[in-house]
């Protein structure tokens, strides 16, 4: 029942008609309008700017790492770029982009046609902008994890700006979580009939609300310790504070933080896949159960991020390891659901041609690649061998964050593009973008994994010529630049097509076999 209803909402109803929304938007509307599509588009385009900024930072330090020894970047500048790359990509691109796409999709899929608590969403956006500005001015170089006591001892006079930015990110994400929860429960028809995107936004919204509290506290503690506001510190061991306290507080947010973009990206799959295939998902309840399990599993397993420290030891270490391995299960439920859905009926030719669908399929490939290999990461023994803080970890999170979440964000963007510009994207340029990203990402992630297996440490701007290290870094840089090239095709495409693209038909995503509408499964019926 549920999924047929969802399909109808996703179909050719009047409110799904493409229109030139971006062309008609006034500056005032863009900045301050509380209309859900305006807020969503503002979030989406800001996130794309953040992606460009974070990407340029990455390309700069990739050039430095291309060969061993120091070329043109000093340690301080390198670490600032690295820190900002991480913060801008996660807090500026991934989380706001998928959340904004959910702001756009939720009112449409639920049929409410409005974003409840839009003022909170507006405030959340502007607070994040202030945080981004503070980060750029303050130029922190303490990595996105801001480990105490290092993060207030780096000798940068504007360091407090980085700590204030952490507090602002927490407030911004808290508001976004509240908006997601409010809207997830706004559909009619009861929770048994609510689409999977609402389940996703409800569960991840709750995760936002709970998990950002320790992040806000961490930001406050770092600020207070760094500026020495009190005689006794929270985290500074030289003034009676505890580093371990910092670690537990930070990673109580830090692990759920990786699900904050991950779950909305999953929600985009559950919304787009039936739309392109023209038939419902393989299982509704399997998806619901997986969302709930993922939410419950996220909080207690944070300590696996600092497991080689003595504070995580003995039975507690085993408890963390076991729950970490178990959190694998909800992701397996999701991936099983997607592959089973693809297997059920013939895949329409229209879907095979559609760029969002292609990005979605390869995003699933990357979640398998990065997720299944991460089965090793959860285990204490291999983690204490070649996994902890070597390049194996960036390989894992670039596969998950970029290969999966980032590509789903782009899939959502291509999907929505005709609806908010009234034009179709250019297929050839979109294909170039698509293939450059798949090839670049695969090279980059695989080379990172190899470097990690050879114990290449994270966060170094200069490295020795150990066997395999130079080759691995070379290939990571090549992959990174291919991704950058793909991004240029993307930007040119979205700018060019918004003026000169083919006008989008009333239903930009018809379900067709050989140019004929699919007989029984057409959403128009």
């Amino acid at each position: 029942m549920t999924q047929e209803l969802e399909l109808e909402r996703m179909g050719a109803k009047a409110h799904w008609k493409p229109e030139n929304l971006t062309g008609k938007m006034s500056l005032n509307e863009l900045l301050f309008s509380n209309e859900y599509r305006h807020i969503a588009l503002k979030g989406i385009f800001t996130s794309l700017i953040m992606l460009a900024v974070g990407g340029i930072f990455a390309l700069i330090f990739r050039a430095e790492l291309w060969v061993p020894d120091v070329q043109f970047l000093g340690a301080k500048v390198y670490m600032t770029l690295m820190t900002l790359h991480g913060m801008v990509m996660v807090f500026g691109f991934l989380i706001p982009m998928v959340v904004s796409i959910c702001y756009y999709l939720l009112p449409k899929v639920l049929g409410t046609e409005r974003l409840y608590w839009a003022g909170a969403a507006q405030l959340s956006y502007w607070i994040l902008i202030v945080a981004a500005v503070l980060l750029v001015i303050g130029r922190p170089d303490f990595t996105w994890t801001a480990y105490a006591p290092m993060s207030f001892r780096t000798g940068n006079p504007w360091l407090w700006m980085g700590h204030v930015a952490i507090i602002l990110v927490a407030i911004s994400e808290f508001l976004a979580g509240a908006v997601l929860v409010r809207n997830a429960f706004s559909g009619s028809g009861g929770w048994k009939n609510t689409p999977l995107i609402a389940w996703a936004c409800g569960t991840v919204g709750l995760l936002f609300l709970v998990s950002v509290l320790p992040l806000g506290f961490v930001g406050w503690g770092l600020l207070s310790d760094g500026l020495q506001w009190t005689s006794v510190a929270f985290f500074d061991p030289s003034r009676g504070g505890s580093v371990e306290f910092f670690l537990y507080m930070f990673w109580t947010y830090g692990h759920p933080a990786v699900y904050l973009p991950f779950v909305p990206a999953i929600a985009i799959i559950y919304t787009l896949m039936p739309r392109f295939l023209g038939y419902p998902m393989w299982s509704y309840w399997s998806g619901v159960i997986a969302f709930i399990l993922l939410m419950l599993g996220a909080m207690p397993i944070g300590p696996h991020h600092f497991q080689p420290l003595y504070t995580v030891s003995g039975d507690y270490q085993r408890f963390v390891q076991f729950l970490t391995l178990l959190v694998f299960i909800p992701s397996v439920l999701h991936v099983f659901n997607w592959i089973a859905t693809l297997f059920m009926k013939p895949i329409p030719d229209s879907a095979r041609r559609a760029i969002p669908f292609k990005f979605m399929i390869f995003a699933i490939a990357f979640i398998v690649y990065g997720g299944a290999t991460a089965f090793l990461n959860g285990q204490i023994a291999p983690d204490s061998d070649f996994i902890h803080n070597t390049y194996w970890i960036p390989a894992h999170f670039h596969a998950m964050f970029f290969g999966f979440v980032g590509q789903m964000a782009i899939a959502g963007f291509y999907f929505l593009y005709p609806y908010f510009t009234g034009k179709m994207y250019n297929q050839a340029m979109a294909n170039a973008h698509f293939w450059l990203w798949q090839v670049g990402l695969f090279i980059k992630i695989t080379a990172m994994g190899v470097a990690g297996y050879l114990y290449f440490p994270r966060w170094v701007y200069d490295y020795l010529e150990m066997p395999g290290w130079v080759e691995a870094q070379f290939f990571i840089s090549v992959g990174g630049y291919l991704v950058g090239l793909g991004f240029i095709f993307f930007v040119v495409n979205l700018a060019w097509s918004s003026s000169y693209g083919k006008p989008a038909p009333d239903n930009p995503w018809p379900v067709e076999f050989d140019g004929q509408p699919a007989p029984a499964a057409s959403p128009a019926e």
């Binding site: 694998f328 592959i339 009926k345 291999p382 966060w459």
Partner: protein
């Protein structure tokens, strides 16, 4: 080469398992996209698949804990003595005991007779070496690739780890594995394996060679 964690056997098994279900996922995705045959799996099939995955979770947990517990058998013997659970040889199981101070940015190695060296520690081939690691400023890492072992040390605690030195004399990398400030990239040391070094017994009995 034998490494301290004794990990290679169990790790190879788990890497093979991991690789095989990564490939399985890719193959199923490809088949769903390219194969002509269509198939609607049942819930029973999904439950069976999940049951296998949960079985793998139990196996991985058991295998990892077993390996790691064996590695820790002779570590932290002082705490074990306090609790009255000290069994085995304790520090007598090791040929050489070195205290390591990790600092911003480098490692200092202090031998049993208070000889200190910075950024290099000399051991004999095949020796079992116990490192007692402390940090006096920020969180540091301690990773010896050739011995396949990593630990992290925060300023509040002492951390013990041990390695079996390589049989082949030479110079092996020791590196910090956790970002510890702007000098992190330079925080390296060398494990120098040399057959010329006197054994710890020689030193204790006052001999030299």
């Amino acid at each position: 080469m034998e490494n301290a964690l004794g990990i290679w056997g169990p790790q190879a098994t788990l890497m093979a398992i991991t690789a095989s279900f990564t490939v399985l996922g890719m193959v199923m995705l490809l088949a769903a996209m390219l194969m002509g045959r269509r198939w609607k799996p049942s819930y029973a099939f999904e439950l069976g698949f999940i049951a296998i995955m949960i079985g793998l979770v139990f196996y991985a947990d058991w295998s990892s804990v077993k390996t790691y517990a064996a590695y820790q058998e002779n570590l932290n013997i002082e705490e074990k003595k306090v609790s009255g659970i000290a069994v085995g040889e304790g520090e007598a199981a090791f040929d050489r005991i070195v205290t390591v101070i990790a600092f911003q940015w480098g490692f200092a190695f202090i031998s049993k007779n208070e000889e200190m060296s910075r950024n290099a520690v000399v051991v004999r081939p095949g020796e079992k070496v116990l490192f007692k690691i402390v940090s006096n400023d920020v969180i540091h890492g301690f990773n010896i690739p050739v011995a396949q072992i990593t630990a992290e040390i925060d300023p509040d605690t002492k951390r013990e780890m041990w390695i079996r030195a390589p049989d082949k004399p030479g110079k092996y990398l020791i590196q910090c594995i956790n970002y510890c400030g702007v000098g992190h990239s330079q925080m390296k040391a060398w494990l120098v394996v040399s057959a010329d070094l006197p054994t710890a017994e020689h030193l204790n009995s006052g001999e030299s060679n």
